[in-house]
């Protein structure tokens, strides 16, 4: 008799967590952290291989003015300036432990003196580096920017989900009707509009001194000297428009697939049985069809998580909010590698945690959907 090898999940005995579910969670978290680090490493290496570097933006203006000394001398000085700039930022070291040179063809080992090793050591000590543009620590800048972005996007996500649930239940409640067709058309129209058009439209319609002006005039409160009520009374009406544009932008992609899934669920046998038993359709929708139809909605919601952190560049530019989307976009455009890599690390971590959350929620909704090892 041949013993079947145990192919299930062996609980790892030495972990402090007792239940197998807990251990699975811990393993998944560790894998998510490793995967995020892998992705950030890839972006680290690729960004330094791109042509053109931060010295182009920093020394751009210096090249056009020169003191009238001999031309060859100044060209030499510009070259020296570029080299010393790269040396100061540590960009003249090899990028990775091994590099491949075209001729002589082959791989060269560099040991520990490379940019990647320094970055990993710094990361393990909890530091994210310093920005190339102003030399300030990246973590502090990102934290400040997130303090503007996260409240806005978090409340937009919550509002959009609630509104999407309500609209989807309304749309699936009956097959036809002019009201429902109108709502569908409006949602389709919102879907076709790019976010910047939506934001500009809202700005021009609702914050226009010539027309409707919902934004009261007022000066920006100084963070250091104004009280909480002053800050709230300034930011309250001003966050209405960005919130509205974000909610309207993400609403169709949440509501329409959910409505379609609910409609599909209403055609199944158990829903027909429930109708035959005399339950009102709204109750069937809310209590029986919705949990089955939530899977695609959860998928879309967890996919939205990374854009909560870094995806709202357009809204931040149009409404002049110093958020993290704008920070990361500017860093990418000016080749400010430390900020870009920190942003990618954060986004990848959030996305992987979102995947984990989605799997946990699938299991909560439908115990048959066992998480895959």
């Amino acid at each position: 008799m041949r013993l079947r090898r145990f192919r299930g999940k062996r609980p790892i005995a030495w972990l402090p967590v007792r239940t197998s579910r807990g251990r699975w969670l811990l393993v998944r978290l560790a894998r998510a952290a490793l995967a995020a680090w892998g992705i950030a490493s890839l972006v680290f290496v690729v960004s330094r291989l791109l042509p053109g570097g931060p010295e182009q933006f920093a020394l751009d203006g210096a090249g056009e003015k020169w003191g009238g000394a001999s031309a060859g001398h100044v060209a030499q000085m510009q070259q020296a300036a570029r080299q010393s700039f790269r040396h100061r930022l540590g960009l003249d070291e090899p990028i990775f432990y091994v590099t491949r040179s075209p001729a002589p063809a082959g791989w060269h080992w560099h040991g520990r003196h490379n940019q990647y090793h320094r970055w990993v050591v710094q990361l393990l000590h909890g530091g994210l580096g310093q920005s190339y543009r102003d030399g300030q620590p990246v973590g502090a800048a990102l934290g400040r920017a997130l303090a503007y972005t996260l409240p806005l996007t978090g409340s937009a996500a919550v509002l959009a989900t609630g509104l999407a649930l309500y609209l989807a239940l309304y749309l699936a409640g009956a097959p036809g009707g002019r009201g429902r067709a109108l709502v569908r058309t409006l949602l389709g129209g919102l879907q076709t509009m790019p976010l910047f058009l939506l934001a500009l439209l809202l700005l021009l319609l609702l914050a226009n001194p010539d027309g409707l002006n919902l934004v009261p005039a007022g000066q920006v409160p100084n963070a250091a000297t104004s009280s909480l009520s002053q800050v709230l009374s300034y930011w309250g009406p001003r966050s209405l428009l960005p919130l509205l544009s974000l909610v309207l932008a993400v609403l169709p992609s949440l509501a329409l697939p959910l409505a379609a899934a609910l409609h599909h669920e209403l055609g199944t046998d158990y829903a027909t049985t429930a109708r035959a038993k005399g339950l009102p359709i709204s109750r069937i929708l809310r209590r029986h069809a919705l949990p089955n139809a939530l899977i695609p909605l959860l998928t879309t919601l967890t996919e939205l998580l990374p854009s909560l952190v870094a995806g709202t560049v357009v809204v931040e530019v149009v409404f002049a909010l110093p958020g993290s989307g704008r920070l990361l976009a500017q860093a990418a455009a000016t080749h400010d590698y430390p900020v870009v890599v920190a942003g990618v690390l954060l986004t990848a971590l959030v996305r992987l945690l979102g995947l984990l959350l989605a799997d946990v929620l699938y299991f909560t909704l439908d115990p048959r959907l066992r998480p895959l090892a």
Partner: protein
């Protein structure tokens, strides 16, 4: 195809079919239409003029005719955006379905497959002995495909291919890399041909349908009819391709019009960054992006926006009607 033309369909359905036919016709016949202005000619005397003769739909901030841009955009839609949407949905369905069906431990490959993958990696990294590695990789993949479609499983040492982690990891990588970095990296090369742009759009757009189909596949995998298929002894590949995958792709029906809108949005952000496209390659996405330069010229955004909305609604109408056949 016959189902499309069944009689006794509502009026909205026929309107949708006729709109799609109009767009397809404009797209295919575009260059031969007798339009007074071409889509890329900048009429400097008529910057941002409202709809009037001779520019019947107005001009944008650079003086380009909006009507000509609409026709050029229809051509681009038919040649790039629509195929990209469908290809991305198909690729996403296949990869997501595989990830959901087989997970990380169920797809067992013979050990030779690992050798094949190693050989492919050896070749890609340009380590010495490339030709040998390529031949090894080809041989292993041939053997692999033969094994996968067999009815009776053989007993031999196997390793598990972690499909789920690979697909999710690839999707996360594509989603986590900021668009600007990716586009700047791609802009470093020569400008895109049509097929390269199509490939780029497919590569950027496949993770979303993949995740949806993966989630649906997790549900479908435990349905009774799939268990019956296992019990009846069908090979796993057949169960996946003929039974599980079509059931799991149901949710894509409502996604396809939305992802078309998403691709147009991606095109407008590409046009906004000027990457891969020159201003003489006009599309609906680039017209929408051009509206930002002159916000008071509402016709520059309204015309392609309306056309896009009608196309989406038509696609939705056709999708629901095909489902209700």
């Amino acid at each position: 195809m016959r189902a499309l033309f069944k009689a006794r369909r509502p009026v909205a359905y026929w309107l949708a079919i006729s709109w799609l036919a109009l767009i397809a016709g404009l797209g295919l016949l575009g260059p031969s239409l007798p339009l007074p202005y071409s889509s890329s000619t900048a009429d400097l005397l008529a910057i941002a003029t409202p709809p009037s003769a001779p520019h019947y739909l107005g001009t944008d901030a650079l003086g380009r005719d909006v009507l000509a841009g609409l026709v050029a955009g229809a051509r681009r839609l038919v040649s790039i955006s629509l195929p990209a949407t469908f290809l991305a949905a198909a690729l996403g369905a296949v990869l997501g379905g595989a990830a959901g069906f087989w997970g990380n431990t169920r797809l067992r490959l013979p050990v030779a497959a690992a050798g094949g993958l190693l050989a492919a990696g050896w070749w890609a990294l340009a380590l010495p002995g490339q030709l040998l590695a390529l031949l090894l990789a080809l041989g292993s993949s041939l053997w692999l495909s033969l094994l996968l479609w067999q009815k009776t499983p053989r007993r031999q040492p196997t390793i598990a291919l972690p499909v789920d982690s690979l697909v999710l990891g690839a999707g996360t990588l594509l989603g986590a890399v900021p668009r600007l970095i990716m586009l700047v990296a791609l802009a470093a090369g020569p400008p895109f041909t049509t097929y390269q742009l199509l490939g780029l759009l497919v590569v950027v757009a496949w993770p979303e349908p993949a995740r949806l189909v993966r989630a649906e596949m997790l549900r479908v995998r435990v349905q009774p009819f799939i268990e019956a298929a296992w019990a009846s002894g069908l090979p796993p590949g057949r169960i996946w391709w003929h039974h599980a995958l079509p059931a799991a792709s149901q949710s894509l029906r409502s996604l396809v019009p939305l992802s078309l809108a998403g691709l147009i949005g991606l095109e407008s952000s590409l046009a906004f960054l000027g990457i891969g496209q020159a201003p003489d390659a006009v599309s609906w996405g680039s017209l929408l992006a051009a509206a930002r330069q002159e916000p008071s010229a509402w016709w520059v955004a309204a015309v392609p926006g309306l056309a896009l909305l009608l196309t989406l609604l038509a696609l939705q109408q056709v999708a629901t009607a095909a489902k209700n056949r």
